[in-house]
Symmetry: C2
Subunit: 284 residues, 2 copies
């Protein structure tokens, strides 16, 4: 099957999905919508989308609508989409928080035409020019609360993620938000705080970054991520993220107290425990 | 000029230096010494070293001795090396902390034949098999307290780092330890704590790593680093590292309090400030 697809939000994620759906023939046509006319023109010029359209025309003309906006915008847009969507079409969103949006549309008309999903991939870059091919290949894409969507809607969105090369996992939205809090949102919070700490040091010490090497670059990479994308994710997931940050703070303070006390035995055990991460990521 | 070089400690750093010094013709012969006979055999088999020798024979037969052991072992070994080194030879160490070692050998005979250095590069892997070519190419290598070494010693070690493709920076050891605390040791502490926090979560939730994507992998990468290398670095640099960890904890708690209070304005400013890191690392 081949579909007419609208992408609402032509950033890194929306743009990367568009590139692969077109390339694999899953989409016959990609219609692009973005609140920034400049991003729309850029996406058109880069061949990410086939045409630009108004929001409502895009919804009415598409078999599949992919909402790839920041998660605060999705809260506003998804109810509007469900109001005007064709009964044979399906809409999905690709945001990093799922519970808020699912709650928001609980009683909307056509709820069953919506599939809550989250392809677990990305980079620290943003905008249409950040779009890359194969971003979701061999990555996990999560579908949340499948029981609230029609079988046909789930089938189409599953096929779409298969076309992107993703492995699909079903999950309830609360588990999703907690898990993603641990393995994605926490990493971003940690990295933003690292950047702010070192940038503060730089105010009196302009040479600080001369010594930055690969280790620092790796840990601070996520701090380059867009505030428009990440601020609303943190806000929407604060229920889970706050206790996770507390757990993390406890661990770092534990590390610090061993160092303060010169307790090499405990510090060694701490690092050795951390080293167990090695096998965990490689086994995936 | 071409030199006979001994490498004491055949891990990632020592091994990678050996590979490039041989390849570029800077070393005519590489003698390897490691406290692990298995590492010595492995390094020989991998072509990292030309021959294995005893510690004292290696010192006596070499023009250049490179101490590439964990920094606690270097504290023990450097004074022994300075006792038996030939007056025309030179010794350098490549550890990530410099003040402790420099203090330790302050009154040793032949102090002027020792150059304190630190090539700012690495990976999370360890052992001879982790050695790679061009690890130091286009990276910064620091020489500390140059005034305590003879001109000729500095010249030879500078030439060596040039052969590795490094850019050389001179620095006093206290500044070095503070700077490196910010842009390297802190990143490692943060990453170890992240690994421990998520591994603790895993105890009751075995699926947690199924959702880990590139962002988590990047932030937690350094947590794979060897305890033998990093424990003594943390201990030796605790004077600088502890206040830096406190600064970092303050920043993360600031982030947390904005999130707790739903203060989107402050949180947005925090993330926007963190985003400034983007230009900093690319300008290098």
């Amino acid at each position: 099957m081949s579909y007419k697809v609208s992408i609402i939000g032509l950033g890194l994620i929306g743009g990367s999905i568009a590139l692969d759906l077109k390339r694999t023939g899953f989409a016959t046509e990609i219609i692009g919508v973005d609140k920034s006319p400049q991003h729309e023109q850029e996406a058109l010029k880069l061949g990410i989308i086939d045409k630009i359209s108004s929001f409502s025309t895009a919804i009415q003309q598409s078999d599949i609508i992919i909402l790839a906006t920041p998660v605060d915008a999705s809260l506003e847009l998804l109810p509007s989409i469900l109001k005007i969507i064709n009964p044979n079409s399906v809409v999905t969103d690709v945001g990093s928080t799922k519970s808020s949006l699912i709650k928001k549309v609980k009683n909307c008309p056509n709820r069953q035409l919506y599939v809550a999903s989250h392809p677990m991939s990305g980079t620290e870059n943003s905008g249409p020019s950040a779009a890359i091919q194969n971003l979701f290949k061999d990555k996990v894409s999560i579908i949340c609360n499948a029981e609230e969507s029609s079988y046909k809607s789930i089938e189409i969105i599953s096929d779409m993620y298969k076309a992107l090369g993703s492995k699909i996992v079903f999950m309830d939205s609360e588990s999703h938000d907690e898990h993603v809090g641990y393995v994605s949102h926490l990493s971003h919070a940690i990295s933003y705080a690292l950047a702010v700490a070192v940038l503060e040091k730089e105010k009196n010490d302009s040479a600080i970054f001369n010594l930055a090497s690969g280790g620092f670059a790796s840990t601070v990479r996520l701090a380059k991520s867009s505030v428009y994308m990440w601020l609303p994710i943190f806000i929407q997931n604060s229920k889970y993220l706050l206790p996770i940050i507390n757990t993390y703070l406890d661990k770092l303070m534990e590390f610090k107290s061993y160092l303060e006390n010169g307790d090499t035995k405990k510090l060694s055990e701490f690092i050795t425990e951390a080293n167990r991460i090695k096998g965990k990521l490689e086994k995936k």
